[in-house]
């Protein structure tokens, strides 16, 4: 008997340990994922720059200091001048050291302060990807040597890369940023929210509070449950054939992306909404009906306010899912190079996850860390949303 008890306790401990192990393993996987992304991605937020001394009066710039316009700057032969200056300062391999678009930094400096045209100034310009990677100890031996040389000369600085947050897609990894995709995500989410929230809440209210028991309400219910589980890529096919091919709405636009994602998010909101509405105790409805409130008043005065935290939680979760969604957007033309941030919902746009997908496919190795950095931005965004949902849930969790 004693032995038997001991055995049973041992099995109890094993079982409990298996549970703990499962939790720990799942948690560890998450930690590993986040850690890997952080490890790769944090580097993406920094950029290596090389200080370049330019003697403007002596340079063969075709620029009239009195007439600094965009067009004038574009025709001022800046790329060539930059190349020359760089070769003088850094040696023959300067082209390898500087980003091919380094001259843009000089252009912007001139634009910001045309007065510098009259003197010699030192401007920090982005280093090439090879140098950038080498400065972060990821590069080839030759590049590392070059970095060493530049460091010794005190020309090299590695600092936070603000332009990663303010620039848009591009071809040079040292110059790209996520602002365009971020804005695209924002616009898309706005459309999604504006469409799916009212419709979702209205549907949830109708089904939970008013719908008669009839065949067609059953159909609505089945469709909604089903839509919540339809693979997202199918929504992409829907967007492709209905919104693009049939309705001829503008391709690649945040509008279409938002509409497609709204169809996907709406059932999530309906289901969360129905659960929230269901958890409002019937006694509240009875109470209101019992003193002569009409069914619409009952819902809008009592049920909806009480269910709102739950509905909001569901909405945030649905929106978070939509924010991370990629597959359907590939089908509707958002897999595109869009370097001008969208100004409105009908402008061509891309979104963060698609940008990640695009960058993961880029040739240049500098994009690896940019991809991870973009992932960090996306994850931070999502964590914030999920955190808000959890906060709401905990704050308003009511036991009746």
């Amino acid at each position: 008997m004693r032995k038997r008890i001991a055995r049973r306790y041992a099995s109890e401990r094993r079982f409990k340990f298996a549970g703990l192990f499962a939790v720990a393993l799942s948690g560890a996987f998450l930690a590993f994922l986040l850690f890997t992304m952080m490890g790769n991605g944090l580097r993406g937020f920094t950029r290596t720059e090389i200080a370049l001394q330019i003697d403007f009066p002596a340079s063969p710039l075709l620029l009239d200091p009195a007439n600094i316009t965009d067009a004038a700057l574009a025709n001022a032969n800046l790329p060539m001048v930059t190349g020359q200056v760089a070769r003088q300062a850094l040696g023959a391999d300067a082209d390898e050291l500087l980003s091919p678009t380094a001259w843009i930094s000089i252009r912007d400096a001139i634009k910001a302060d045309p007065a510098i045209l009259g003197r010699t100034v030192t401007i920090s310009v982005p280093a090439s990807t090879t140098i950038d990677l080498a400065a972060k100890h990821e590069g080839a031996p030759e590049a590392e040597a070059a970095v060493e040389r530049l460091r010794k000369a005190g020309l090299l600085t590695t600092g936070f890369n603000w332009s990663f947050l303010t620039a848009s897609d591009g071809t040079d990894p040292t110059q790209v940023g996520i602002w365009g995709a971020f804005k695209g995500s924002l616009l898309t989410m706005l459309v999604t929210l504006a469409l799916s929230f009212p419709v979702g809440v209205a549907t949830a209210l109708y089904l939970e509070e008013y719908a008669p028991k009839a065949w067609w309400t059953d159909i609505i219910e089945v469709s909604i449950n089903n839509l919540a589980a339809v693979p997202s890529i199918i929504f992409g096919l829907l967007g492709l054939s209905i919104f693009l091919n049939f309705l001829h709405l503008p391709r690649s636009a945040a509008l279409i992306g938002g509409m497609t994602l709204a169809l996907m998010t709406m059932p999530v909101i309906v289901i969360a909404g129905r659960n929230a509405i269901k958890s409002v105790p019937p006694s509240i409805r009875d109470a209101a009906l019992g003193i002569g409130a009409s069914p619409v008043q009952v819902v809008f005065h009592h049920v909806l306010p009480l269910a709102l935290p739950g509905i909001l939680t569901g909405t945030i979760i649905g929106m978070a899912r939509a924010l991370g969604e990629t597959a359907p957007l590939l089908m509707i033309g958002m897999r595109a190079f869009i370097a001008t941030p969208p100004a409105g919902i009908s402008d061509p746009a891309t979104v963060l996850p698609v940008q990640i997908f695009l960058w993961s496919d880029e040739v240049s190795k500098g994009f690896v860390e940019k991809t991870s950095a973009a992932i960090i931005v996306l994850l931070a965004f999502l964590l914030a949303m999920n955190g808000l949902a959890i906060y709401l849930r905990n704050k308003f969790e009511t036991r009746w």
Binding site: A287, L289, G290, I291, H302, L306
Partner: protein, 262 residues
């Protein structure tokens, strides 16, 4: 089993039901009940669990409309007007025939808002001052004013069970109903709170027609002047409370009152 019973003839009934049958889907819960309710007396419905007391009570202000499967036959009148006629506005009917439920169910709002809600949606008071008057009056009538007057803006759900139930009665009173229906209003309460509610019913009597469902025969005896005994969907006996308890005419009533079943 169903013997015809002779409901008390009441000269000028406030509400009157004639041959009312209620079905839940195919199941019949009320099998042809006729009864009159008047202003001057408190009417108690008693009977074993599941006999249809609540069901019948809820037909009186059409709360059964909210149950999709429920269907009502027969006529029920309020001041002679058929409450199931299409021209009857249910919302207004419920304002005239108020209801208090078994479990106190205050809105999760302040005490003040609980009372003010009804007058507001019925347009009985517009200015803040008017509302204040209505709230105070209703809480006074519900015997709650002294206990809550300093914390009108606390949540109604923070009150004790008995206070909550009185709040619900006050809320019903606030829309100036003519009839108040109470479905086992004390069953969730402790003895002291129960006593307070019973006292309150005494005070309200005469001003409103009151119908109370209870499974506690002592309570029926204490608060009511008329008692109706239901069994399996039938109104078995209806009469002056004293008579029913001391001298029931029906065998089933007697069995129930002496505790043979239930």
């Amino acid at each position: 089993m169903t013997e015809p019973t002779n409901p008390l003839a009441i000269a000028n009934p406030k509400m009157s039901a004639r041959d009312v049958k209620v079905f839940y889907g195919a199941k019949q819960a009320i099998k042809g009940v006729s009864i009159d309710v008047d202003m001057d007396n408190v009417t108690a419905f008693i009977g074993p669990s599941g006999c249809g007391k609540s069901t019948f009570l809820r037909t009186l202000n059409r709360m059964n409309d909210t149950v999709a499967s429920a269907r009502v036959e027969g006529t029920i009148t309020l001041d002679g007007e058929d409450i199931y006629s299409p021209s009857m506005d249910v919302v207004q009917l419920r304002a005239r025939v108020g209801m208090v439920f078994q479990k106190p169910n205050p809105f999760p709002k302040s005490i003040y808002e609980n009372i003010a809600y009804g007058p507001r949606i019925h347009g009985l008071a517009h200015a803040k001052a008017d509302l204040d008057v209505v709230v105070e009056k209703s809480l006074r009538r519900a015997g709650l004013w002294d206990e809550v007057k300093d914390r009108l803006h606390d949540s109604g759900t923070a009150l004790s069970g008995g206070q909550q139930q009185r709040l619900c009665i006050g809320r019903a009173i606030a829309v100036e109903p003519e009839v108040i229906l109470m479905d086992e209003p004390c069953s969730a309460l402790d003895p002291i709170a129960t006593a307070k509610i019973e006292e309150l019913i005494h005070e309200l009597r005469g001003r409103y027609a009151i119908v109370i469902v209870t499974h506690n025969m002592q309570q029926a005896a204490r608060v009511s002047q008329r008692t109706a005994f239901f069994h399996l969907g039938d109104l078995v006996e209806y009469g002056v409370t004293g008579d029913i308890f001391t001298n029931p005419t029906q065998e089933r009533t007697k069995d129930y009152i002496t505790g043979r079943y239930g």
